[in-house]
Amino acid sequence: MSAYVPFLVAGLVTGSVYAIAATGLVLTYRTTGLFNFAHGGVSMVVGFAFHQLRSEWSVATPIAFVLSLFVVGPLVGVVIDRLLFRNLQGSSQAARIVVTIGLLVFLSGGAAVVFGSEPRQVEPFLSQATIDLGTVNLGYDQLTIIAIGLVVLVGLLVFFRSSRLGLAMRAVVDNRTLVRLGGFSAGRISSITWALGTTLAGLAGILFVPLVGLDTVTLVLLVVKAYAAAVFGRLTDLRIAYLAAILLGLIESLSLKVFAGYPTLVNGIRPSIPFLCLFGYLAFVKRGRLRELGVAAPWEGSVRSRPFSRRVQAGWVGVGVLAVFALSPTRLFVFGFALALACIFVSLGLLIGMSGQINLAHTALVGTGAFVYIHATVDWGVPFLFGLLIAAAAVIPLGLLIAVPALRLPSLFLALATFGFGLLVDGLIFTSIPFSGGQNGLIAHRPSLLSGDRAYVLFLLVMLCGFIGIVGLLRRSALGRTLVALRDSPTATETLGVDQLWPRFAIFAVSAGLGGLGGGLYAGMLQAASKTYFNTFTSLSWVAVVVVGGVQSPAGAVLAAFLLAFAPELIGNRPDLLELVAPVFGLGAIVLAKRPGGLLGLLRSVRLGDLVTISSPRGAPVPASGSLGPTTNG
């Protein structure tokens, strides 16, 4: 039995850190109604700040601790509150999700710029002394962390139960006026809440670093495991979130011991347990049990964009064909890359734009498509076009699997479910070496007729036109109208006689099928595919990038793909600036989240005439009316 004790303690330690992160997440969500997807990003930034101060700048540990935890942490929170949260009053859930995802992309990318992306080891800062309990040794650091976790939980419970501020925080999400009557300003409460929430995120970050080392991706991923715990507490119950976090830590740790004899099980499944729990819970939870807090407006994307005229469409296709023959080989490759990416983005933008639902697992779908395409054409010798079709067909069931929670969950919980699903595919399927080739990836083939870049890129251009055509057909179909109806009012749609099941399945299936096809095309373009192209955090950036381009029409997705692919060219191929691309798109998503027209919509709303008459009394051109929705600035 005593052989299990060290694992038990280690599980309690990890669980406690999960719990600290989860309580911070629950605290902010239940007080402000905004789920912070960037919670893990905040942990990472504070954790890095602490160790930067301590190790690189030789600040004494207690001072570094105080500075990072009680200055950097709350500061991030106040910035989130002032710049993001208050601008999101009266905006849709989709815009809220996109904003915090943009923030996560910004923080992850920004941390790589500031701190570098090389993982670092750090010295522990808690005492390494141990207490000898006969057969086992307990570390003081372990006991400290477990104690901190308990203190945080009990402290928060007491605070919410008995302090006036705590009671006001419980009321603020439901009724801002009530809080004002109680003598508190709702604005001050939300500032305090965010500061507290990000401080807890930071605490989790600081405590995690000695356990796992300094690495931007790992830290974010670890804290994302706490999202599962928070969801078990329905994002509102601190106690359940705490218990779930501890339980996750224990399961993770004990499975290390129990399944010690099965390394594949330990290495493969163990890290994915929290994501399995997250997706499993959300896939099977009773309808209506999970509710979104706060009043979310209908999706801003409801305002339709003007369609492009046939002449404009033909003009752009002409430009594309011309580019294929005029570009230098290097640029032609980037152009082809952009086209393949555009196909993928069209398949993602289709879902976001038509249903207002956000799929954070699109890389899982596209990646599966890419790998299946390679196995079909290379291993089974299937002809090229059939290989593409098999890739699309193989991905559709995955899309339907994601659609199951979409039938019953409000969009925030759907986004979380897809997040869990994506991480699950990352951890369980893409790690399989026979399937994905592991770290080295797989070589992809093109058919002999299209083996040259020029021919293949021309083929991609045709395919992209096909993708756009399909989207156009869908938008004009009864399915398109039904999705608009479901977006505006699911209740009214059902009481007119339409079940949610088929339209939701249909759009997820089409988006997944096109995504799988896009994956095959992408692999063909790069003549390779690797799991590193398709991890779930890439998926988050894709969402950010597509939103920046615009989701109201496939043209926005195409614009997004070209921006991303040509970003290195646009900044003059300077490797030192290359890492700025991701944070810039993250920032762009934050700014444009409430404008589903995206950059494309902005570009189209600026006309030559407006530029000439800038000094006119009317002032700046206004984008399509109503697309911004009401905003209250604090």
Binding site: R304, A478, R487, D488, T491, L496, G497, V498, P503
Partner: protein, 269 residues
């Protein structure tokens, strides 16, 4: 407007027959063995004080709440275990107290979608088609009937509540229902709009022959339009019958109208 699927049952039975509906919220019996019948062409009011259980009965008729007991029959079929969408396909339609419009569609598109929704629900593969199942003429006719022509191409979401109620009513009519449930149709309307709405409900029933069951607070609307009333209090039906008789029933006055209200209501009833 004869629907080929309608008329399977004997003419003796009403389109909607709900028997002994009970709904329990924890320990509270919110609806206690309430029975309701409404046939095509009939306008019936469901009235009662706040918290009497009217809205709960609507939810129960739609299958949005689990029933503690009782059954709901539509056109002779037991639909107690059916989903809301399936009930809608058998001829039930509704409006909402809190508007549930397709705000990003124009008024005309709201009605056109109403005309095709049932076909799309019955045969899901039709979702992949174009607009073949839209009944454009019916949509135009309803636009005329409800005098929505001038705003037909405006976004439904940007119009005032009064017009929103008409759009919902029109959209429900567009689905060619046999029975239309109206949830507080006068809420948010001024007295003039309410009077106009009464006329429109009557004309619609005349034209399309559907039945109407409405929940309403505004007694002038109820008396103006309903042929029959069912009065509910504490989850029980306390009185039912022709409007003129019910409004003078002492039990109803005690439960709902109060002695002052009778003075207002008496002369017109």
């Amino acid at each position: 407007m004869a629907d080929p699927k309608v008329g399977g049952a004997g003419a003796s039975e009403s389109f909607l027959v709900a028997r002994d509906l009970s709904v329990r919220f924890g320990g509270l019996l919110a609806v206690d063995a309430a029975s309701i019948e409404v046939d095509r062409g009939e306008i019936v009011g469901l009235i009662g004080p706040n918290g009497a259980g009217k809205t709960t009965i609507f939810a129960a008729l739609w299958g949005l709440l689990p029933l503690a007991s009782g059954s709901v029959m539509l056109d002779g079929h037991d639909v107690t275990s059916w989903s809301p969408a399936r009930r809608a396909r058998s001829g039930l339609a509704r409006t909402f107290q809190r508007l549930e419009l397709f705000g990003s569609m124009t008024v005309r598109e709201n009605l056109r979608y109403g005309t095709e929704a049932r076909a799309l629900g019955e045969r899901p593969w039709r979702l992949l088609g174009g607009g073949r199942h839209q009944d454009l003429d019916l949509a135009e006719e309803i636009l005329d009937l409800l005098e929505l022509g001038p705003v037909a191409d405006r976004s439904a979401g940007e119009l005032p509540v009064g017009i929103g109620r008409l759009i919902e009513f029109g959209r429900a009519l567009a689905s060619r229902p046999n029975l239309l449930l109206l949830d507080e149709p006068s809420s948010g309307l001024d007295p003039a709009e309410t009077v106009a709405f009464v006329g429109q409900i009557r004309r619609a029933v005349e034209r399309f022959g559907c039945g109407v069951l409405l929940i309403e607070h505004d007694m002038s609307l109820v008396i103006g339009v309903c042929e029959r009333l069912q009065v509910i209090d504490f989850g029980r039906l306390v009185s039912e019958g022709p409007t003129a008789e019910v409004v003078v029933d002492p039990r109803v006055q005690a439960a709902y109208l109060g002695s002052e209200a009778v003075g207002v209501v008496g002369p017109s009833g």
